[in-house]
């Protein structure tokens, strides 16, 4: 029971991170019907920017953790958004009216390019961040097993919930959110009523990248390390989460992220930690075969 509770806590934390990344996949798919394979690498870039920003802040003497964290959040979100915007603007937009697979191929190319770029600039070795946020709560202190909830876990989950709430509110209630939904439902009609479709797509990439940057920071704080390859693995899992939840659906991405985090954690805990990635990928295959529209997906995705 104690062991189970501990895995539940770990799984929810991991699921929060996957959910944040999954939103980027699902939004872009919803609007332009394309899987942005480079999104996982955008998340990786976000984690690296966060690491560099943390170290730079410490170097100039900003050592108060809440302040440093806040600044890193701003810096990483801003710079990562710029990456997201750039990738869309120069690798995808010129191909928008090309044949259907062209943007997809371009996305795979961007993914490899971003990985190699970071590998060359930052080296292939794992980079550590000294633990910034220590401590936590002991929930159950039984002789068999000690259940702990760390402050980092609390931070990860609270930040994720807050961001998802803000983002959902934006989509439901603001002009930009309405434009995004209009583009998602009918790109051509959106342009007929005067929505600048290209700009709305840019904003979608910017927001997706900003959320991925936050996920990158959370990943960095939680695991304490980054390397150029984290984007691929986390990216495929977040993509699986988006498919599981129903690609194109925002709440689906959140629920899917949570489920993938839980499944991976429990699989590692009760079966085999070596095969934890296999679990996630098997789910992708199974979902695609038996539940292609996902949990909250719409059977009729009317793409024009």
């Amino acid at each position: 029971m104690e062991y189970f509770l501990q895995q539940l806590i770990n799984g929810v934390t991991l699921g929060a991170i996957y959910g944040l990344i999954a939103i980027g996949y699902t939004m872009v798919y919803g609007i332009i019907g394309m899987i942005n394979f480079a999104h996982g690498d955008i998340f990786m870039i976000g984690a690296f920017i966060a690491l560099i920003a943390f170290l730079a802040l410490v170097a100039i003497g900003v050592t108060a953790v809440p302040l440093a964290l806040f600044l890193v959040l701003l810096i990483a979100m801003a710079l990562t958004s710029l990456y997201g915007w750039t990738v869309e603007r120069f690798a995808y937009r010129p191909l928008r009216h090309s044949f259907r697979l062209a943007p997809l191929i371009s996305a795979i190319g961007m993914s490899i390019a971003l990985q190699n770029y970071v590998q060359i600039v930052q080296g292939a070795r794992v980079k550590p961040l000294p633990p910034l946020i220590g401590g936590g709560y002991t929930i159950i202190d039984s002789p068999v097993f000690v259940v702990q909830l760390s402050n980092v876990q609390i931070l990860v989950v609270l930040t994720t919930v807050a961001l998802m709430a803000v983002f959902s509110w934006i989509v439901a209630n603001t002009r930009l959110g309405r434009d995004m939904r209009a583009c998602e439902q009918d790109l051509k009609m959106a342009s007929l009523v005067g929505v600048n479709v290209d700009r709305t797509i840019s904003y979608t990439f910017i927001i997706g990248a900003a959320l991925a940057a936050v996920a990158g920071i959370m990943h960095l704080l939680y695991y304490g390390v980054v390397d150029f390859y984290i984007g691929f693995v986390a990216g495929v899992k977040a993509f699986t989460a988006a498919v599981l939840g129903g690609i194109g659906s925002l709440p689906g991405a959140m629920i899917g992220g949570l489920l993938i985090g839980l499944i991976e954690t429990f699989w590692s805990a009760y079966f085999s930690i070596e095969y934890k990635d296999v679990a996630a990928f098997s789910i992708l295959v199974i979902v695609l075969i038996f539940l292609p529209t996902g949990i909250l997906g719409r059977p009729e995705i009317e793409k024009v």
């Binding site: 439902q185 959106a190 342009s191 007929l192 479709v197």
Partner: protein, 256 residues
């Protein structure tokens, strides 16, 4: 019906000059010339696949004309991005209505007001509700769950929310019961007469359309073949034969 037709001298509101549009290698418009003057109702009729909807969409640059020019109030808009054309206060209720199906009626109307000044939103909303009181009752219903007729009202209402000066309507009567057709057509007439709205409409329902319009054009196979005052076109035997055969009954009922 209405008073004298609006004047046709001066700069046309919309001028289509030698426009050719292709879908890939297939040509859909083979050099179309057409004018819409301020204050007019102009009808475009033609058989299925003639290219009517293609012309409506080409005016908005999607698909783009490969040759020829489209002028709006004398300004060349042929290469303008679609959303910039919408900003010039041309609005379209396109073929198939294209309601944002997972948005509410209110949100659809807000989308229509995208390019309009927020200051007169309430006023424009009131105008739409006056024309189509049904929409007011359905305000928070999702667009996709409206009936076909209600969707058509919403498509027109959404177009009106931008406070257009030129309204393009692609088959506004499609699939509607006769009573509703009458209602939609009288709404169009009211907008034209009271609000001085210029209307360019495509219709299968040639009898109604030509009776309503000041002028009409007939399109065959991507080309304009006949044009003239609506009532005059109605009398021409070739038009009666091609487009009005099935409408005899309506014609009799239509006599007022």
């Amino acid at each position: 019906m209405s008073a004298a037709a609006p004047t046709q001298d001066g700069v046309p509101m919309l001028a289509v000059r030698g426009v050719k549009t292709y879908y890939g290698k297939i040509i859909a418009l083979k050099g179309v010339d057409l004018d819409v003057h301020p204050g007019e109702i102009v009808a475009l009729i033609g058989a299925n696949g003639a290219g009517k909807s293609t012309l409506m969409m080409t005016i908005f640059g999607t698909p783009r004309a490969r040759e020829g020019r489209i002028l709006y109030e004398g300004r060349d808009i042929t290469r303008l991005p679609t959303h910039e054309i919408a900003k010039l206060r041309i609005a379209q209720a396109p073929e198939g209505r294209r309601i944002f199906s997972r948005m509410t009626v209110m949100e659809n109307l807000q989308m229509g007001a995208s390019v309009a000044d927020a200051a007169h939103f309430e006023e424009d909303l009131a105008r739409v509700f006056r024309l189509f009181p049904r929409l007011k009752e359905r305000l928070h219903q999702r667009g996709g769950t409206l009936s076909g007729g209600e969707q058509q009202m919403l498509a027109i209402g959404r177009a009106l929310m931008s406070r257009p000066r030129l309204l393009l309507l692609d088959e506004p009567s499609l699939g509607l019961a006769p009573l509703l057709v009458k209602q939609i057509f009288s709404a169009i007439r009211e907008l034209n007469e009271r609000d001085k709205l210029t209307v360019f409409l495509v219709e299968q329902n040639a009898f109604h359309a030509l009776k309503l319009a000041h002028r009409g054009y007939v399109m065959i196979n991507g080309q304009i073949t006949i044009s003239g005052p609506g009532r005059a076109l109605l009398k021409r035997p070739e038009i009666r034969a091609a487009y009005l055969e099935g409408s005899r009954i309506e014609q009799v009922q239509g006599k007022r």
